[in-house]
Assembly symmetry: C2
Homo-oligomer: 295 residues x 2
Amino acid sequence: MSAAFIGVDWGSTNRRAWALAGDGRVVAGFSDARGLMAVASGSFALEAAAIRARLGDLPMLCAGMVGSARGWASAPYLACPAGLGDLAAGLVWVEAGRTAIVPGLCLARLDDPAGDVMRGEEVQLLGAVAAGLAPGDALLCQPGTHCKWARMAGSKVAGFATAMTGEMFALLKTHSLLADFLTAGVSDGAAFREGVRAGFNGDLLSQLFRIRAAALLGRRAPEDSAAYASGLLIGADVGARTLSPGARVHLLAGPALGTLYAAAIGEAGAVPIALSSEAAFIAGITEIWTRRHAH
Amino acid sequence: MSAAFIGVDWGSTNRRAWALAGDGRVVAGFSDARGLMAVASGSFALEAAAIRARLGDLPMLCAGMVGSARGWASAPYLACPAGLGDLAAGLVWVEAGRTAIVPGLCLARLDDPAGDVMRGEEVQLLGAVAAGLAPGDALLCQPGTHCKWARMAGSKVAGFATAMTGEMFALLKTHSLLADFLTAGVSDGAAFREGVRAGFNGDLLSQLFRIRAAALLGRRAPEDSAAYASGLLIGADVGARTLSPGARVHLLAGPALGTLYAAAIGEAGAVPIALSSEAAFIAGITEIWTRRHAH
């Protein structure tokens, strides 16, 4: 089996690249930490050449923050609803006929002046549907630094919301006056679940302070504070989605965050369904590759 | 008029000290930046001697974070409801007959394992009532790094909540991926009010991310993002208090934060009433001094 193209999921911190056959089968691949923050401005073409040196001299489709103003080139945000055909038609070619960047998506509701944006997640979301991992009308969740909640309708991304849940936990753990209390690891358990349920109640700014109060008053074991804080943030995130009882939430996540979000979604009375984000990305980028050929 | 004692409002960052007559009239005073973080452990007695060198060789009552584990000595937290008599009876003498620390307050509701704590604010809160600046049954708000909302009943602190509103704004402005968008100053205006109303809606983690999205999509003037973000946080804080229409909120704040909180409280349909935090502290510490004599 020979590869037809290279697909790259190129984020701010990490990067995953695969040499893929035309039907999406993986010929070769690797992942590394050469995300945007590790790549000097102006050296993205050199990076692409290095990827080709490893995976073959093939056309390349790149998705993710590589398409931002700080990346290789600024690709547009397509307005929702948008599907894989829209992404394929909107490819931005940074090396003629050789290397293209997948556009991002934006939410531009008339009644909301703020809107929302994503880059990279759209390939996973639409790929999960294309691969049959999730139905064409579904709620998908991608936990992370900036957690995405996407409503799929008719196999397109109809709308989405982004919560800075992961970034907030990192800020609190690293820079806040709570940092001294948040040194332990986080896992699903009684303290995490307690935090999730508290997070459902809203008033996040007060509930966060109470982590400190609970520690000072000796009301929570110090090693439980980080799990409680993580639960509080994930509970606030999940709770704000007002999930219907029994609603299915398709989770595109690694095992650690996937376990925590699945627990919180379950506490909310909904049903988490774990999907492979790698399989979803590969299906999505392959479909974009195929549709690009059809045009 | 000669001074009877020295009252010190001794926080983490700043310190205010007054030489006071027995009836609370100010004989002399100063403020500086020698809060806890500027004082080496073990040198608080030297600091007190320096205060006496400036204000007179008098007995001294200190309130605030000086009574925390990182301060001069760890004073207890008295459980709410608590009044000035309780604080006077709970003084912790760190120099016999010469220097005492006012205890803090804690909230220890049976149905809430977390609880809450304060140090220093209790003197202002109870002093505002003692001075007749606020009624004995009232809602008081002290904006700041950790904003306190206190429910006074029968001239005691019946209960309170702390929101890390100010700290959160500082974290976002200094360390977050929003930092690039939050460089402008904050004042009351259309962007701030828009943020306040958005903050009332909850889902803070998503609304914060949308500040970034709005900037990337060119939907908000870059110089308005900081005011909007401040409004969002203060709106989330005020909104979580579920104020009744027309409810009076007595504000103990400096002019900058006082103006912003007054605007947000007004947007919520309640009525802000500005009080002098200095007059409240002086009235509170004087009443503690007087009651200490009575025992």
